[in-house]
């Protein structure tokens, strides 16, 4: 017999995997992250208040684990010099939009600095409101908005083949 907490966690796994894929931009790392998050959740089950949202609680656990991984000295660099096929920057192409595969979009996400990836995943992938995203990131709503705006323009640029952004520009941006 599965207890209610586990049952709710199991039901949440598809969204946790989606969330983790947005953060890590790597399917294997995403499942590693979900597994680590679920293990942590099971050991900290007593800290979760029944009746509150398990998804927010789990997203926060995954987010913190991921940030810890990014900060760990042993972390391998994700720098990926492979160039996306270059086409001139142009306006949003709805025909192209429908042809983009998950792998292409994940690849583009992987070219964004982690803070941009995080806010995009919270708001555009998981559908959190700005207020909820601000609470999860522990930053003011204004910061969410400006980070989101820049992240969207960068993602647009990458998807349209105008090249990645210079990693050093954002590498030191705060995660929290």
């Amino acid at each position: 017999m599965t207890d209610p907490f586990r049952a709710e966690l199991i039901a949440l796994v598809p969204r946790l995997r989606r969330f983790a894929l947005g953060l890590t931009a790597d399917p294997d790392r995403a499942d590693d992250l979900v597994q680590a998050g679920c293990e942590r959740a099971l050991t900290r089950q007593h800290q979760w208040q029944p009746g509150t949202r398990l998804d927010s609680w789990m997203f926060k656990i995954l987010q913190n684990l991921w940030i810890d991984q990014l900060r760990a000295p042993a972390r391998t660099t994700e720098a990926d010099s492979e160039e996306i096929e270059s086409v001139p920057d142009r306006d949003w192409d709805q025909g192209m939009e429908a042809k983009l595969t998950l792998a292409q979009v994940v690849d583009a996400m992987g070219r964004l600095p982690p803070p941009m990836r995080l806010v995009l995943t919270l708001v555009c992938v998981e559908g959190l409101s700005y207020k909820e995203a601000a609470a999860s990131l522990e930053v003011p709503i204004g910061t969410v908005m400006s980070r989101l705006a820049r992240a969207r323009l960068e993602l647009h640029r990458i998807l349209h083949g105008a090249g990645g952004i210079a990693p050093e520009v954002e590498a030191h941006a705060q995660l929290h």
């Binding site: 199991i10 499942d31 679920c38 989101l148 969207r152």
Partner: protein, 254 residues
């Protein structure tokens, strides 16, 4: 011409702006193609992320996660039940049939609770302003997507009707992609400029099962014929509708 910041346009694309600012941006974008293209960058990136990542939800649970979370189970369980392929079965929601029947009788009586008191209906966006805005300013056939309170919605006005009394009503469809809930409805514009939803039918995952009689199950799977409840309304052409939208539904127009 007013200019808007990228932050404002992002919030606009995400359904996070107050209605008054939404209106200002929507109006400006109608007259300014460059602004409309800029908005589309923000809206388009969101659509791409939503659509691409949604594909992951249907993947089976990896074995290692299943073993961790549900060691008792030794069989592969699909995470999400496949959505039934058949056409949605439309059922009247809280406001439905009885209100719709009253529609033809008196315009002034069309004020079911709205705003904070309105009953939350499956398939309708949780933020009433979103529906108001779509009905007020989006042409039939042009969907309006956004998110309110973390809930994504899409509203599609489908037609505009002029009643025998000279009022305007619009049919619309609404869906919440995350829950799969869908609704079809009819709303009429009051003299105060607010759109009152006078009839709604819901379908999809969040609809209450067996909520009503079969009166709302359409033969063609096409949804209830709300317009019939209005007597014999005139269906407006796209040009007439566009003129009304651009004149804020003012009847002083020729």
């Amino acid at each position: 011409m007013r200019s808007f910041t990228d932050e404002q346009l992002t919030a606009y694309a995400d359904g996070e702006l107050p209605a008054v600012e939404v209106q200002a941006i929507a109006e400006a974008a109608r007259a300014d193609a460059a602004l409309a293209r800029r908005i589309e960058r923000f809206a388009g990136t969101r659509r791409v992320l939503e659509r691409a990542f949604a594909a992951t939800l249907d993947e089976p649970m990896p074995a290692r996660l299943r073993e961790l979370l549900d060691p008792a189970s030794d069989k592969v369980v699909p995470l999400r039940r496949p959505v039934a392929a058949r056409a949605p079965r439309w059922m009247p929601a809280a406001l439905a049939a009885s209100v719709a029947l009253a529609v033809g009788l008196s315009l002034s009586n069309w004020w079911p609770g709205r705003g904070a008191d309105a009953v939350a209906i499956a398939g309708l966006p949780p933020d009433a302003a979103a529906l108001q805005l779509a009905l007020e300013s989006s042409a039939s056939g042009v969907p309006v997507a956004g998110a309110a309170g973390g809930v994504r919605y899409e509203i599609l006005p489908t037609s505009t009707l002029r009643t025998a009394q000279g009022g305007y009503c619009r049919e619309f469809e609404s869906s919440l992609p995350d829950s799969g809930a869908q609704a079809r409805g009819l709303a009429c514009r009051g003299t105060d400029g607010a759109w009152a939803t006078v009839a709604v039918a819901t379908a999809g995952a969040a609809a209450a099962p067996g909520a009503g009689p079969d009166g709302y199950v359409p033969a063609a799977g096409d949804g209830p014929d709300f317009a019939a409840a209005l007597g014999r309304p005139a269906r407006l052409t796209p040009a007439e509708e566009q003129a009304l939208i651009s004149q804020h539904w003012s009847k002083s127009a020729p």
